[in-house]
């Protein structure tokens, strides 16, 4: 299968970074199998500091697995991953220390239901960063204000709407002061009318220069906020480049087919006679 490289806007975006320490995330020839099922089939991927990268692709394409490999929620079968220059696939690495610098936002929020919103934001600060209660609460309060939930401090997760829960989860990650943030389909579990608030928070983070890797189905978000869009299908990266290029003028027929289905549900892209992979 041919990988189409989109013509880059700047040279730094196409040249593979030769020294791993330059990149916020650097992934080389990553393979991941679950039993006999190979989910990632040799991924080359990087995110530069301050860059917002959106990963799109059909379900089962391996994009969430790629994201989860980066903070080692999944152990790679083979290949190497560096986060801020540190080889996280090294067996001797202190994975807890690495994860401290990586914020992770889940599709299902994963707030701690037995703790109040404030405690959700302070528990890891206190246990992991050893911050005092007052210091942790000050940080938590600032982050709740930032995501517009200052009035929900004493609420329990069950009392929040999906959109509020996801914003609280983002605030929880931010409270650890991460260098980069991973988002695993952050709006996929939300009712459509609640998606906007969460995307607004993410837009704000991007504007502040946070390094972000976002697995998403929100094409308008990707188009507007991403510096780069990566299209994955069947365990490989098929196409990547500026959002207007990948989303506006996709080079690979599979990308075209996927975008047609996502942007016009119910319609299929006209098949290309020259491409045998489209039935």
């Amino acid at each position: 299968m041919k990988v189409v490289k989109v013509i880059p806007q700047t040279s730094s975006q196409v040249e593979v970074v030769s020294t791993a320490s330059d990149a916020a995330i650097e992934v080389r020839s990553l393979h991941k199998s679950f039993g006999a099922l190979e989910v990632l089939k040799g991924i080359e991927f990087h995110v530069d500091p301050g860059e917002v990268v959106c990963v799109i692709g059909p379900s089962g394409s391996g994009k969430s697995t790629l994201l989860r490999c980066i903070n080692l929620l999944e152990t790679p079968t083979s290949g190497k991953i560096w986060v801020s220059g540190q080889d996280v696939t090294d067996p001797d690495v202190d994975i807890d220390a690495v994860r401290r610098s990586i914020g992770m936002v889940f599709q299902q929020f994963n707030l701690f239901p037995h703790l109040s919103v404030l405690e959700n934001l302070t528990i890891a600060q206190r246990r992991v960063l050893r911050r005092s209660r007052s210091e942790a609460e000050a940080v938590a309060r600032a982050n709740l204000e930032r995501v517009g939930l200052a009035d929900k401090m004493t609420a329990y997760p069950a009392q929040l709407s999906g959109g509020q829960a996801q914003r609280a989860a983002i605030a929880r990650s931010l409270s650890m002061g991460p260098d980069l943030m991973l988002f695993d389909e952050p709006t996929s579990a939300l009712d459509p009318e609640l998606v906007g608030d969460v995307l607004e928070v993410m837009r704000g983070l991007a504007a502040e220069g946070m390094t972000m890797m976002v697995v998403t189905h929100e094409m308008s978000f990707a188009r507007e906020v991403a510096d780069r869009v990566v299209f994955m299908d069947d365990g490989i990266i098929l196409e990547e480049g500026r959002p207007e290029a990948v989303l506006g003028a996709p080079q690979h027929p599979r990308t075209r087919d996927f975008l047609a289905r996502v942007l016009n549900p119910g319609h299929r892209a006209p098949p290309l006679a020259s491409d045998p992979t489209i039935a």
């Binding site: 994963n110 239901p113 528990i123």
Partner: protein, 241 residues
């Protein structure tokens, strides 16, 4: 059928034998301040030991270290399988016969171990099921925030697991309350009698079965309030869920 029993029953005889107020009056206050108190104390000892040791066994069963799992499995299968009476007999008579010495910490050590070690086996399985019922995303979120495996278990997973297992754990406390009657075979003094032994001794002494009935009712003084407290607790937990 029920009506027939009610009609044919010899009520004066029944009330004389089983609800004899004159006899019942003689049981108080000892049945409350000695026997009921001892039953509650033995249950509490067995429960605390069982819960602590059961948690350890549950974590061993879930460990990635295979020998831990093996040890826990053997322990659980053994203590779930043998009759409690046999185990108590072993502690009370087998150990002194074999070693020529009583267990240290008399009279409570055989009670704590006798009730607690088998209780730990049952509770271990309950706790394990509770831990496994906590969604995987909870531990993942905790680990993603930089918590170690141990911190994630202690702060995030185990507190949620205990909320899930409150009903089955209550069940085990109630069973343990009644099992505590078996510790009588360890040999008791007047001060260490629990409800059933107290009732049986009073039956022999007073030649009337009323003490057994009163002792039986006393078990309800422990179990019914316990169920009510737990129901309250559950309602509160469900609000926070």
């Amino acid at each position: 059928m029920g009506l027939l029993i009610v009609l044919k029953a010899d009520w004066p005889r029944l009330s004389h034998d089983y609800f004899n107020l004159a006899i019942a009056r003689q049981l108080f206050p000892d049945i409350l301040f000695t026997a009921l108190r001892n039953t509650a104390a033995y249950t509490a000892m067995g429960f605390v030991f069982g819960l602590g040791f059961g948690l350890l066994l549950a974590l061993m069963r879930l460990s990635v270290v295979a020998p831990y799992r093996w040890v826990a499995n053997v322990y659980i299968e053994f203590f779930r399988g043998i009759p409690l009476l046999l185990w108590l007999f072993f502690l009370g008579y087998g150990v002194p016969t074999a070693t020529g010495a009583q267990l240290p910490g008399q009279p409570y050590s055989p009670i704590v171990l006798g009730l607690g070690m088998p209780a730990a086996a049952y509770m271990a399985e309950t706790i394990r099921a509770g831990i496994q019922a906590v969604p995987k995303g909870q531990a993942e979120a905790a680990r993603s925030l930089g918590m170690s495996h141990g911190q994630a278990m202690v702060s995030i997973v185990i507190p949620q697991a205990f909320r899930i297992i409150v009903p089955p754990l209550t069940n085990e406390v109630i069973l343990l309350t009644k099992d505590s009657s078996l510790v009588a075979i360890l040999g008791v003094t007047i001060g260490t009698k629990e409800l059933t032994k107290f009732g049986r001794d009073a039956l022999n002494q007073l030649v009337n079965p009323t003490p057994l009935v009163i002792a039986g009712l006393c078990y309800l003084i422990i179990t019914v309030p316990l169920s009510l407290v737990v129901r309250r607790l559950e309602a509160r937990n469900n609000r926070a869920r």
